[in-house]
Symmetry: C2
Amino acid sequence: MALSEFVEQVLERSIRLHHPGYFGHQVGPPLPAAALLDALAAFLNNGLAVYEMAPAGAAMEWSLLQWMADKLGLPDTSQGLFTSGGSLGNLTALLAARSAFRSRYPQLPASDARLLVSDQAHYSVLRAAQVMGLAADQVVSLPTGADYRLTAETLQVTIEKEKAAGKLPFVLVANACSTATGSFDPLAALAAVCRQHGLWFHVDAAHGAPFCLSPRLKSRLDGIEFADSVVWDAHKMMMVPSLLTAVLFREGRHAWSSFASEASYLFRERAEREWFNLGHRTLECTKGMMAMKLFGVLSLYGEEVLIEHLEGRVQQAQAFAQQLRSDSEFELALEPQANIVCFRHRPPAGRDWNQHQRDLRRRLIEEGRFFLVQTDLGDRTYLRCCFMNPRSEASDWMALLERLRLLGNLQHPFF
Amino acid sequence: MALSEFVEQVLERSIRLHHPGYFGHQVGPPLPAAALLDALAAFLNNGLAVYEMAPAGAAMEWSLLQWMADKLGLPDTSQGLFTSGGSLGNLTALLAARSAFRSRYPQLPASDARLLVSDQAHYSVLRAAQVMGLAADQVVSLPTGADYRLTAETLQVTIEKEKAAGKLPFVLVANACSTATGSFDPLAALAAVCRQHGLWFHVDAAHGAPFCLSPRLKSRLDGIEFADSVVWDAHKMMMVPSLLTAVLFREGRHAWSSFASEASYLFRERAEREWFNLGHRTLECTKGMMAMKLFGVLSLYGEEVLIEHLEGRVQQAQAFAQQLRSDSEFELALEPQANIVCFRHRPPAGRDWNQHQRDLRRRLIEEGRFFLVQTDLGDRTYLRCCFMNPRSEASDWMALLERLRLLGNLQHPFF
């Protein structure tokens, strides 16, 4: 088989994220140059675990991480690492939080530690807790309000309740923004409570972290500068392909603690000073030149293209929400803070609301012109559009709504 | 900056794995077509967590994993997944082993469980144990013999000793082959002992698994067909770029158990039947079309090119070892079983043997014509050549030896 034939067959059977009808999952259509740089990284195959194998790769990773920490307002002591995706990023940050907790309370039974997490947390946080061997009762889910945001009051009450029961919360995981609705937790207020009670403050900003680049959007992240750790996916809103996740630590030494062993059976003492041997700080041993695509995009196009992209997508989401609000056949779940919009189509009388959304989505996807997703908020199923695609215009999402209206009002249901 | 200029600058500052003087770390020079397929995967950015986002990607992943399981001689019930690197692969397999252990001994204190591991294990195994929250005394290191291979006797004795102390070994991690020396553990004999005592038998075959493709080399893996789980890195010996690691499970249901929660706060019950939604089975949520490069190489070139590559590299390693054995200035650490050769240069009288190897390597790398690595075996430091590169010929490693001879015998040491 020829390469061109193989490529053609793959293209025919793959999802086209660059298609203007794509409003789907939170990975976006990458810039062609960024995809080409992945081929360069692949061809060079320089492994990032040791500096001697990837001098350019290590330098690009290091300088990019410093740029990111700086943009978030983290102090000069900050350091970080890139890892293969947000799930691994959250795990890495939580391992550092556990390590800090153990150092502080060496005598406390491990089973008394509590991980506090928004009920809107990404599933990778619960998965990380499970990987780490935490029992189910060690993960405390905090209820969010009607806007799917945590409150400082809930956090305060939960901490006091746990302490009264003889348990010790050691980390809070906040969202910036949440996966399902794109809601930003009030980070500054949460940070204050965490500091008061000595909790590690982790912000899962996989989606929202790059909002810090935009003067118009950065206020949504107010307080992230107080985080002990932050996860930032470049592959969501920065037009580079997956995977590229930054894990940033307020105190640089924690960038090593995730995988530094209390038992010292693993690492040499000098690890902390060897910033250039990145294997000390990532779960991956072999790790490609993953930072190069973002370093390249910034070198080729500058920050402006990223800011324009971010602001453009949020504006589209707001315009879409405005349209939904003015249309009696649709129902908006909440005002979008990011580029994610959850909504429902009002079904014809007699149909189940939740099943109607699911059927509608399935039918729409099968037609092949549009891609959108669904999410459950409480006991309600919503349709969900992520505005990830610079090639989508107002006419595209207007056409999407008209198609949903038409399908949703068919006399005969589609199943 | 133009893309071409950026690429040029990166090339100038990167390590050239395709250079015939490269005998370095265990990642190899990828085929150009495989690197191009990474660009296609990057551009498409189809996420493998849910089938609807990556129909071609999911199908390629699934069929490739079945092909691999079949080649290893695993039963028809086998299933697997691809993950971002061998470290994550070992973690995934050990999580499944822990899950199986917990199901079997729900009443046993977690702290009584023991993980048995060769003293030649890759550091990612110890790191995985640490991530999982195992204490240092829960990881039992088994001594290997003079050839750096485990023996069934040592395993038997260790299990009995642990049981006598009231502990319960639940998993053995064997090497096929070990990272430092390329030694293959006697898998069939170890499997028998594991079965007798009810241990999960995990084989870290990150480097050696593809040897099963070659009729000449596959006997080194005898017994791998009895493994409960196997880790297989395609990016080491299969001419595809990093990362691409298969984790294969003897019993398909275990492919889900790593991340299925005992507390059921995470996954729906139907997960096991949803083979096509790969997010149930990998730590990654967003995961790219990582299998495509290997699927593509097999479609374009067939298995033969991979077999030729593997056999060629092992033959080169054997010829290199033969040369070292016949040269009184060099000392071979052990007969190579794979394509990895450890050796030393005899220093001029009065110099420290270990420091001499380290200095020699540093000087050689600084010259820029050759790349090789070093490793410590017990208290001895060795030079180490990995034959990963089809572009290296006999004249290249002969030139390497002559350069080592010349530098190693300089009147003035190089530091």
